[in-house]
């Protein structure tokens, strides 16, 4: 059941009370061919299919091309600072656990300057879908090497080729306690991307989705240009993400148990040197979310009771003689 972009356009015409427009502000101002368009479209379709109330969606982002995302989505949004989307998301999730929270970052944003928040927010397991649009480059600042750039990447700060093996976000994430959902998809696979986002959306906890993203302007050669030749492999499991090969010419499908951390680590290891896994890599819906943990211990008290309690506390400090 592989769908092309056209199929999706078809599907979009089916009637329902929230249409695509209800999730759209202005035309997205990314470059032609930018993977951002595909990711935004996949998200909007998913929201439409699930008839999510736009006002209940909060989209928090950092700074980068990718982080323009909230401006194009009709929802509440917070376009924060470079690397700092996740702390703001933690705040939103603690403040309003009932809102539907989406965090969008770029690879530099999340893995370089934002690395510490990434590490710790995965451990908090806040209830948010977290999308990283990973184009393996700093795009907004016009082409500097990113932690996920392949070794030898020619960029403006590495004009003679970059020096280091790339960071593998999947294997790092898999080393963090309390992870509950890790998936990977690609911006040129609309069907798979939408299915991935749908699964992530429905996950209670932090659903970390790395989206391999085309940046035809500054990183045209990454991911075989996001072409039919991209060397992916689909992970298949009963509770996983439906395989949807899209345009890919030959991408094997392998059985994978996303509940098994060791299997997940094996799949993730060296992913950038072998075939990139696509689908649900790790899944543990039992991990409690941070707000659930915290609020299970927080009393519900009204104004009156609170005032009374405060007065009682003051008595502890009283020095009535």
């Amino acid at each position: 059941m592989s769908l092309t972009i056209d199929d999706f356009v078809q599907k979009e015409e089916s009637t329902c009370s929230y249409g695509m427009d209800d999730y759209t502000t202005e035309a997205a101002r990314w470059c032609k061919g930018c993977g951002g368009h595909g990711a935004l479209g996949a998200l909007q379709r998913m929201l439409r299919d699930n008839q999510v109330h736009p006002e209940e969606v909060v989209c928090v982002s950092g700074i980068g091309c990718s982080s323009r995302f909230p401006h194009y989505l009709r929802a509440y949004g917070f376009h924060t600072l470079h690397g700092r989307a996740l702390p703001v998301s933690v705040g939103v999730s603690l403040a309003r656990p009932e809102l539907k929270l989406l965090t969008v970052m770029g690879d530099g944003d999340c893995f370089s300057i934002g690395g510490n928040h990434w590490l710790h927010t995965l451990r908090y397991n806040i209830n948010s879908m977290v999308m990283v649009l990973d184009n393996e480059i700093y795009a907004l600042t016009k082409k500097q090497v990113s932690p996920t750039s392949r070794i030898g990447t020619v960029s403006n700060t590495s004009p003679r080729g970059s020096y280091l093996e790339p960071l593998n976000p999947l294997s790092v994430a898999l080393g963090i306690s309390n992870i509950s959902f890790i998936a990977q998809t690609a911006s040129w696979l609309p069907g798979h991307m939408q299915a991935t986002l749908e699964k992530a959306w429905k996950h209670k906890g932090l659903a970390f989705v790395r989206i391999l993203q085309r940046c035809p302007v500054f990183m045209p050669n990454a991911f075989q240009g996001g072409s039919v030749d991209f060397p992916g492999k689909f992970l298949e499991s009963p509770e996983g993400i439906p395989v949807d090969k899209g345009i890919l010419r030959d991408a094997p499908v392998v059985a994978h148990d996303p509940r098994n951390i060791n299997a997940a680590q094996a799949v993730a290891a060296n992913s950038h040197m072998e075939k990139e896994p696509l689908g649900l890599i790790y899944y543990n819906p039992e991990v409690p979310t941070y707000s659930d943990i915290r609020y299970s211990k927080v009393a519900t008290v009204d104004r009156k009771a609170k005032a009374k309690l405060l007065d009682d506390y003051l008595t502890r400090y009283s020095v009535e003689s």
Binding site: H53, P54, E55, E56, V58, C59, V60, I63, P70, H71, R74, A75, Y76, G77, F78, H79, T80, L81, R84, L86, P87, V88, S89, V90, G91, V92, S93, L94, A95, R96, E98, L99, N116, H117, L119, H120, R294, Y295, K297, V298, A299, T300, V301, R303, K304, K306, A307, K308, L309, L310, D311, Y313, L314, Y317, S318, V319, E320, S321
Partner: protein
């Protein structure tokens, strides 16, 4: 025994090696004085290491209690009486210059005959030099007496000392016992009995050994008082302010405020989030406030440095935020446990670009409580960043003040999530005032995106000149509007005279006390304390112009005229002085120092005398 000496006030220190119980003895005795109606300010004496080597200068730990027959606003001058568990603890207090020349020292005489001759020698040396300088030394067999009542005199000494001091200051033994019984209420009866015995033994010991005792009369006719330190006051004030989230990262001396909150916040429906770092801590608070749950963040200097970028985002997105900075000695790691007022310019100007914000400072522990609801109110009505500058002096000092009345005004009510009217804008600035209404997420039709980029009324990114100028104007205007609601700061003393001392924050108590003394001497000096430093209140310049000389007194560094290379042109002024000079163009002088401890009224008094003398001499010429 002679008649007790009647004192207006006395400053008492109890010092021991870290962990030996002087802290406990001190707080208990202080509490007892408070109960008996004395005015009070206590200061913790804390070693800089967790467990310094015992019987060394670095190990001194304890409490300093100023008890008075009138309300007390600061830690006072030099210490009048010290109870020292050993001579090194005493020496450390001599070294930091804390003791009055005529100090009375009560010290355990067991060291005089200690097995280690080195100790005997240094014990004798310390005491001799103290006597030479005018101190009185009462060498008493404290440990020996204590050991008669308990097997573990090291553990029991604290309550023994409480008993002894109760005798010395003529506190009622039965009241003391019943108070201490209350403290140990949850312990087994045997423990309670042991402590009763210790207090009693200490009291009797005093009766047998003291040739002289003291009375500090109670203050009369005060309303019900509470005693707490400034960080506790901030914690309780935060509850009163309606906060429901405190997002923080530990740092001395701010952390204890969050400890207090952590202890009970959940009962109030709130929580403390210890973030991975200070950047995240402030980011979480911003996210929460933006989403509609009142959140604050609390930190100290190095943490402020890390929050700089996010504080700019708060200003740009007009997200309400209160950020408390409990100042410590700087720059950099500096003097982490000690007091300084060096973060004023940081608070005002750290953010790149023009980021107008409110900066205010409590000047007493009582204000630490009351400033919190005010700060939150301003932050929300003006959609503003409010930085509250407390410091280590307020944080760890303990003071009595009138028990606050609990009001429900600032406590939160359920959010209004009704649909917004069509066309509502997230920055629907009133062009006169810059004020606008927030639209909280969840409200139908209200969808908007907050951004740190320049934006128009609709919150949309905009790069045009007019839009940037307008956004800047609106954010700046809010401060002018707030300023228009402020009152001119009170002048303590006559509205005109020779010298006006201007201060801010925790030094108010010491400065005003010094000014009062000078006024009593007939000197024409007054004082002003500035609570709002941004925006500055009205009337400052007018007030300054009524004095021959205006100078700030700050716990801040400033170059001193007369020092090598220092000229009128290159002199670096203390921080408040810089602001006041720029604002008023009055030639505001400054007197600043950075000793890492609170100002003593006597120091300020000395400065006042000297300055007025200089003014007179000048006139004479």
């Amino acid at each position: 025994m002679k008649e007790p000496i009647q004192l207006k006030e006395h400053i008492v220190e109890i010092v021991s090696d870290a962990g030996e119980g002087a802290q406990k003895a001190g707080t208990t005795f202080a509490e007892l004085c408070a109960k008996s109606g004395n005015g009070l300010w206590t200061v913790e004496i804390i070693p800089s290491e967790i467990q310094p080597p015992p019987h060394t200068v670095g190990s001194a730990s304890g409490n300093r209690i100023r008890l008075s027959s009138r309300p007390v606003t600061n830690g006072g001058d030099l210490t009048n009486l010290v109870v020292a568990f050993n001579e090194m603890a005493l020496l450390s207090r001599i070294q930091v210059g804390a003791l009055a020349p005529d100090v009375i020292v009560i010290i355990d005489n067991m060291w005089a005959t200690h097995a280690d001759p080195q100790i005997c020698k240094q014990y004798r040396e310390v005491l001799d030099s103290l006597s030479t300088q005018g101190g009185q030394v009462w060498e008493l067999p404290i440990d020996a007496a204590c050991a008669k009542v308990t097997d573990d005199s090291a553990k029991g000494k604290n309550m023994f000392i409480v008993g002894m001091l109760s005798c010395l200051y003529n506190k009622d033994l039965e009241v003391a016992k019943s108070f201490v019984r209350g403290i140990f209420a949850k312990k087994p009866p045997a423990v309670i009995q042991k402590n009763m015995d210790l207090i009693e033994a200490g009291y009797v010991f005093g009766m047998n050994h003291f040739s002289q005792t003291f009375v500090v009369a109670p203050v009369k006719g005060l309303p019900e008082q509470v005693a707490m330190n400034g960080n506790t006051a901030i914690a309780l004030g935060s509850i009163a302010a309606g906060y429901e989230l405190c997002s923080m990262y530990p740092i001395t001396p701010a952390t204890s405020a969050s400890h207090e909150l952590a202890a009970f916040f959940e009962d109030f429906g709130g929580l403390v989030h210890q973030a991975e770092d200070e950047i995240a801590a402030v980011g979480v608070a911003i996210g929460s406030n933006w989403a509609g749950k009142p959140a604050l963040t609390i930190t100290s200097g190095p943490g402020m440095a890390l929050k700089t970028e996010f504080l700019g985002l708060t200003v740009m997105t007009e997200t309400p935020l209160v950020c408390v900075n409990v100042q410590r000695g700087g720059p950099s790691t500096g003097l982490p446990t000690k007091v300084e007022q060096g973060d004023l310019l940081n608070a005002l100007f750290a953010s790149p670009g023009d980021a107008p914000k409110v900066v205010m400072a409590p000047s007493s522990i009582e204000e630490c409580y009351h400033i919190m609801p005010l700060a939150r109110k301003i932050s929300e009505e003006f959609r503003a960043l409010v930085i509250v500058l407390s410091d280590a002096n307020l944080a760890t000092g303990r003071q009595l003040f009138a028990r606050p009345k609990v009001v429900e005004d600032m406590l939160t009510t359920p959010l209004d999530l009704s649909p917004v009217e069509a066309g509502a804008k997230p920055f629907d600035w009133d062009l006169e005032t810059g004020l606008s209404q927030r639209i909280l997420p969840g409200r139908p039709n209200g969808m908007w995106v907050a951004t740190g980029l320049n934006h128009n009324e609709a919150g949309k990114i905009n790069y045009l000149a007019e839009s940037n100028q307008k956004g800047m104007t609106m954010r700046s205007r809010k401060l002018a509007v707030l300023q228009s609601t402020l009152k001119a700061p009170e002048i303590f003393g006559e509205a005109e005279g020779d010298l006006l001392i201007v201060g801010w924050g925790s030094t108010r108590g010491a400065i005003w006390e010094a000014v009062e003394r000078a006024q009593a001497e007939g000197l024409r000096v007054s004082a002003m304390n500035i609570q709002f430093i941004s925006p500055l209140p009205p009337g400052i310049k007018a007030a300054f112009q009524k004095f021959k000389k205006v100078m700030t007194v700050e716990l801040n560094y400033c170059d001193r005229m007369g020092d090598p290379y220092i000229t009128e042109e290159n002199r670096r002024y203390a921080q408040l002085a810089i602001i006041l000079r720029a604002n008023t163009l009055v030639d505001v002088d400054c007197w600043g120092m950075v000793p890492g401890r609170p100002l003593m009224p006597c120091e300020v008094h000395g400065v006042i005398r000297q300055e007025i003398q200089a003014l007179k001499t000048k006139k004479g010429i």
